[in-house]
Amino acid sequence: MGTRAVILASLLVACLAQACDGNVLFSSLSRTLVVEASPTAGQVLKSGEDKIKVTWSFNGTHSGKDTDYKTVKVKLCYAPVSQKDRGWRKTVDNLKKDKTCPHLIVARPYSSSAPNNSFEWTVTKDIPKATYFIRVYAINASANEVGYGQTTNKNKTTNLFEVDAITGRHTSLDIASVCFSAFSVLSLAGFFIGEKRRAKKSSPPHM
């Protein structure tokens, strides 16, 4: 009994120490923010063109206060279907190691009322083609996450939208590729022909 208590106590201390250390666990956060975003479920947005409008507010029914919220970070996060077989997008409870939400939309001082609780963002051209949702983290003065809100449910299955990325290809690049490739092959042919001609000229048959 005594040892159990010691173990529990040390676990608690470890958890607290982790939290103090900046190693915040996502499972320890409460969903204190209500987040709304303009994309509807299943909508496909074009990167570089379409916009997303995100609005966040404090959830009045949730017990607890938002007095220690200093900044918010609005992030674009991968849905599970886009994380499958891609270890570099893995969800890890330790937020320092978590790779679910690598794309930062905006970081703002916290405000729960209009007009400072919304942001309009044009999907940038380096966003890959995938399925996403939006999550907003509330951050305290020591730069630790203390609350969050997201546009989807707990299992991240509802209200997801897609981004159709740019291919990165350009017609001019394709043409340059083909031209240089043709040059390589043609120069090889040229060398062959040149060799044959030179061999015929310089060495008369040796009898």
Partner: protein, 507 residues
Amino acid sequence: MAASSVNIESQRDSKFPLPVDSEHKATVFRLFSVAKPHMRAFHLSWISFFACFVSTFAAPPLLPIIRDNLGLTATDIGNAGIASVSGAVFARVAMGTACDLFGPRLASACLTLLTAPAVYSFAMAHDAISFLLVRFFTGFSLATFVSTQYWMSSMFSPSVVGTANGVAAGWGNLGGGATQLIMPLVFALIRDIGAVRFTAWRIAFFIPALFQTLSACTIMLFGQDLPDGDFHKLEKAGDKKKDKFSKVFYHGVTNYRAWILALTYGYCFGVELTVDNIIAEYFYDRFDLKLHTAGLIAASFGLANLFSRPAGGIVSDMVAKRYGMRGRIWALWIGQTLGGILCIVLGAVNTLWGSIFVMILFSIFVQAACGLTFGVVPFVSRRSLGVISGMTGGGGNVGAVLTQLIFFKGSRYSKETGIKLMGVMIVACTIPHMFIYFPQWGGMFCGPSSGKNYTTEHDYYRSEWSEEEQSRSHHLASMKFADNSRSERGRRADPVAAVPTSQDGSN
């Protein structure tokens, strides 16, 4: 200029800036010279091989961007990695045959220029399949390794052939490490000029592609197959007999030593390729490093080739001076076995600095083993030198495919267990060195044949030619080589005065 049919040897000898033997192969290796034809051939061949290595491994350092652009999964990336090294398996054997028949200059320039389009095509890749295809076809260019070794074996005398082979291949392999530094830099430059990330990486691939095209053109313009001239020029003048594909191929594949070396090379060079593909991820995951730092450590593995593979070649030549071919085989077995043991240790070490230290030692021994292997290969056959080189080189790539498939695909083994088991496999697959036996020189445990079975170098190399071919004097070039290879008897062997270069090679 002297016509190609000159009979008096001494006149030709004065034409070469470096001292040469009876085959006009250089007997010294002067690294900082570009003297024609020997050292020039050296520099042309290592630079073009370096370019091919840069192209083949240009994708891995840019994968974080490519995988987002093309929507790749971990499986797609793994498959593309295996594809990149599997193309060269057969390409290397084909290249060996091409060298025997057409000469290394044409063969390597041809392959390099024909694979350049694959590198340009990276700019057009749009999904997992197209990505796999471009990596597959670009990987064919690694067959230029064979032409490099063939060319060095044709330009340099037995006493320095290990050194020449080792430095040329080592400096070419450097490309695998250099590309981890070059490609991210080029990408960053292009992105900072203003290109979007998903376009910048495509533009970046033009650099290795152009480098490849240019180096191939340089070989065609300034290179020369043999010390005396190019293959077909010599063939037209009657100084060199054109050989037949079927004969060349037959004498290559029926030589059991080629198969043993193909297997064992898979566990030094093959392992090196596998490690090139997995080591950055290993350090990143196991020790929680930044991707940039892991990439630097990965680059240093490949960069050790600057001195470690040449060291293998140099050690092979040094050991041969005293102990001949038997010394070369012993040095090879010891070096590669030590590499395998260090691989086991690498998987077991738990600390970051310990791992880095062991990895560097491991890279030195594994790369030296590659250099030591190609101190033995030039002597296995003279007629089918290209095919033997190609089989050994191809075997190297088979080893890379096998080790990646068995130990590093999916989640069956953790990376550290995979590395440990790979080390065990290295030690086991290095044992076949004990079965290599040259009747004229001996093997690891047996001396040269004596008494009734007494075989000389002439006998060994002449056995590759039929009676009919010998009556038509097709085997003369091999006989000259046989004379020059007497040095593989070692110093303790019978101190016979240098055999005069007899023109008909008869005994």
